[in-house]
């Protein structure tokens, strides 16, 4: 294990911010801060009354890290996947999160904090499958 106290503390702080952001949306507007749900609702063939709110949420999500980078320096974004894997992975994440009604935020944070059995099951499955895929990729690359 590679435990670094500062990473853990920043993780906890960032996590609290994510949780507060989700709590703000729930108590302020009665909405679930599920990224795949919010983004998916903006895409065709849907579109509707909440488009303004959804677009505002996504705009904040995209813009805030840019401001963070301006103030504190750009964080490393280590994308090592090849072009075919980026495309395949993106399609799987997009289709899968809509089919399974949620991602790490909707099921992992909002649903699990509500002790939703559906979200607990979904989170266990996507973390489990992801861990298996990462282990398989490492073995395939001979690491």
């Amino acid at each position: 294990m590679n435990f670094v106290l500062q990473d853990a503390m920043l993780g906890l702080l960032g996590g609290l911010m994510i949780g507060l952001a989700s709590a703000l949306l729930l108590l302020g507007a009665g909405r679930i801060a599920g990224i795949s749900g919010i983004v998916g609702a903006l895409l065709p063939p849907k579109g509707g009354a909440a488009d303004g709110e959804n677009a505002a949420f996504v705009a904040g999500l995209i813009a805030a890290p840019l401001l963070y980078a301006q103030a504190l320096g750009a964080p490393a974004i280590g994308v090592t996947a090849s072009v075919p894997l980026l495309i395949a992975g993106g399609l799987m994440v997009g289709f899968g999160t809509r089919m399974g009604s949620g991602c790490t935020s909707g099921h992992g944070v909002c649903g699990m904090s509500r002790l939703s059995p559906r979200s607990l099951a979904a989170t266990a499955v996507f973390i489990g499958v992801a861990a298996v895929v990462v282990a398989a990729a490492r073995l395939a690359l001979g690491g």
């Binding site: 963070y68 395949a88 992975g89 089919m99």
Partner: protein, 143 residues
Amino acid sequence: MRIVIALLSGALFGLGLAVSDMIDPQRVLGFLDVAGGAWDPTLAFVMGGALIPMAIAWRIAAARKHPAYGATFPAPPSGGIDRRLLGGAALFGAGWGLVGFCPGPALAALSLGGWPVALFVAAMLAGMALHGIVPRLRARVAA
């Protein structure tokens, strides 16, 4: 006002992803690589940190009739733990493990990560849209 809440929530969410470093797929893959010998536990701290405010927020919501700006709180999800939920979660997990991005961090990294992130996000949006279109295609084929 709901649009302002959504913007602030999205921005705080994005800031939390940057502060916790979940914006970096290598950090996420380091968590998912449980058996790799250098397991990075940061994501667990992020998840734990995010669950605390949301667990409190659900309690507050349960004691109130409606959110500050809105008619109702979201109802508990309908349906059980079915094949759709688990299949979608598995597909999402596989894509997540291949690249290290789930929807929130991918969007948060969009302004900082260059073309590989843009390509992943484009594929993810296509996957989400495809999921919305599939029932229509099926209906057309059946008709």
